[in-house]
Subunit: 337 residues, 2 copies
DNA sequence: CTGAAAGCGCTTACAG
DNA sequence: CTGAAAGCGCTTACAG
């Protein structure tokens, strides 16, 4: 593996000149630059990131911290962020933490990230105040997807409004007994998302003058399987709902299967509306409230890059719009509720 | 951000002693070691990976190269590999290349990975011979999932056999007109997987004395949407199949939806069998040939770690078993084919 | 058991 | 326009 010294010798210049030529800096004659570039290519020279990082204090890497990568939303965000970062010449270090408190603590303390990345992208984890301070101190700008955090750049949707939009659609269709599939009361990730979507459901119901019935709420854990099981439970009620709002499409997909397996029809017997516009939603013909996922990943990456390029600038906090997509899993209720 | 020098001064020792103490090396008295550890913790000292990397030539990072991360199989592999690597103290650098030839070339030439990682994990990309040589030369052991590559560690399933198993199940049920959903003839990733699964389908048919009918094969591109569209096409044939083997569960899920949308019943009118045991397969009640995904990711990670720890050892090539999981999307044919 | 020193491969003022 | 040299923060023989 060739070093800058090899290139310098082969090109007959000093290593300082090689460095300058390779970085497209001024004060290098066109002739030398070309010679250096040619020699470097011939030697398949690639600068050592370790050495460059030590000299500059910059790693040209961004850390992405998420609870999982194998969940549609996170995977989609990572994919789009990676693409944007790579185009800018940044590497992506992936920290998939799971739900372990210890791992989470290490990541947010900065022990994992310090001196290792130039910036951080946080997904699906909502840090406490001391965690915000610690991670900020670990160095570099931080962008977060899904929540508005003072001091960090952020991109998110309005979860309350999105949930309200889904429920309003069911109300408009004439449903009065509307079930809810959400997360656990005590979210293991400390995320406010489950609570916000639930609040949107409650607000919309009460806006329509309907009482909240705790029996109509079930925990689906934001997974397909969890949504299936939760919907099963709602269907067994003496007075089951005529419609279900699932706080994520994955739960909604599970719910649709459970309803069918129970011998009922969707939407004739039970309507289902999700939230996300998951990649499978269209094929499943699922009515849902769509959020732009790829755009959020790209935007968050962009925010980090901008913060890196212009350190003075205030960090943006953007809320991206959501919109109802009516497909085939919702209709007017056919039985009285 | 504190450096090793800060720790050394605060502990009243040399930086060499700090380094040794922190690495748990011998020839440091228990008393000094404890003092150093305490001071380092107080100062929230974290060694600079750049500096350590420059001194040792080791980055303690593994590169993961895949065409996508937002596809179930790749996301699941990345997730399990990440967990194993993190436990061993390695970082994971993600290179999600998409299908662009240029990106692929750069990654396999080693330009992206050289001096940056200690080893590489390749997913879903099947390199040509010169690419194997180039990436191997870029340094460090390479493990690949999905194909057997001489010179690299590998873990995979027997794609032909798995596909054959799925088709045999349909034959055993009495189906004679069996459709196939696969990839494009000219796979953009250069993967042999689509061809292998198709070959398994053909082999099983001809073993049963059935002729191959090109009209029964459709391209689904290994996506849900693609499977949906491909199944639609097969259903419009003058003489449609009574069963469909989809070479991936994602296509199978799409096919099930397409069949239902066409007003037909699964499995009564058309049986469907997939391959993967996707996380949604159970809820979808999909009959499939299961492959252990998390295990493959962990095993591949393990192989890299072993190769790093014991450079002499020959690199293993493991084929993991698959198995038919009969669920509700397959049954005996009810019409004559 | 401990320290002084060399060296890893870059970048970047500073001279010229 | 170009080069010599310092310095980034570690690790690791080599002495003692």
């Amino acid at each position: 593996m060739s070093t800058i010294k090899d290139v310098a010798e082969a090109a007959g210049v000093s290593i300082a000149t090689v460095s300058r030529a390779l970085h497209g800096q001024p004060r290098v004659s066109e002739a030398t630059r070309r010679r250096v570039l040619t020699v470097a290519a011939d030697l398949r020279y690639v600068a050592s990131p370790s050495a460059a990082g030590l000299a500059t204090g910059l790693t040209h890497a961004i850390g992405v911290v998420a609870p999982f990568v194998n969940r549609w939303f996170f995977a989609a965000i990572v994919h789009s962020a990676e693409e944007r970062l790579r185009r800018a010449g940044y590497d992506l270090l992936l920290y998939s933490l799971g739900t372990e408190a210890e791992e989470r603590r290490r990541a947010f303390s900065g022990a994992l990230l310090r001196k290792r990345v130039d910036g951080v992208l946080v997904l699906g984890l909502h840090p406490a105040e001391d965690e915000v301070a610690a991670l900020s101190a670990a160095g570099g700008p931080v962008a977060i997807v899904g929540k508005d955090v003072p001091g960090w750049a952020s991109v998110r949707i309005d979860d309350r409004a999105a949930a309200g939009c889904a429920v309003r659609h069911l109300l408009d269709l004439g449903h009065r007994r509307i079930g809810f599939l959400g997360g656990e009361t005590d979210d293991p990730l400390g995320s406010t998302l489950p609570g916000d979507r639930r609040a949107g459901y409650h607000a919309e119901l009460s806006g329509a003058g309907l009482p909240a019935d705790p029996a109509l709420e079930a925990v689906g854990g934001f997974t397909v399987r969890g949504g299936y099981a939760a919907a099963e439970r709602l269907l067994q009620l003496a007075h089951p709902p005529t419609a279900i709002f699932a706080a994520s499409d994955e739960m909604a997909i599970g719910a649709v299967q459970a309803i069918r397996r129970a011998g009922l029809r969707v939407p004739l017997d039970v309507s289902v509306v999700g939230l996300d516009d998951h990649e499978m939603a269209e094929v499943m013909d699922l009515t849902t409230v769509a959020q732009p996922v790829g755009a959020q990943g790209e935007l968050a990456a962009e925010m980090i890059l901008t913060a890196l390029a212009e350190p003075g600038r205030p960090l943006p906090a953007v809320t991206v719009p959501t919109g109802l997509v009516v497909r085939g899993t919702t209709s007017r209720p056919t039985r009285r509720s």
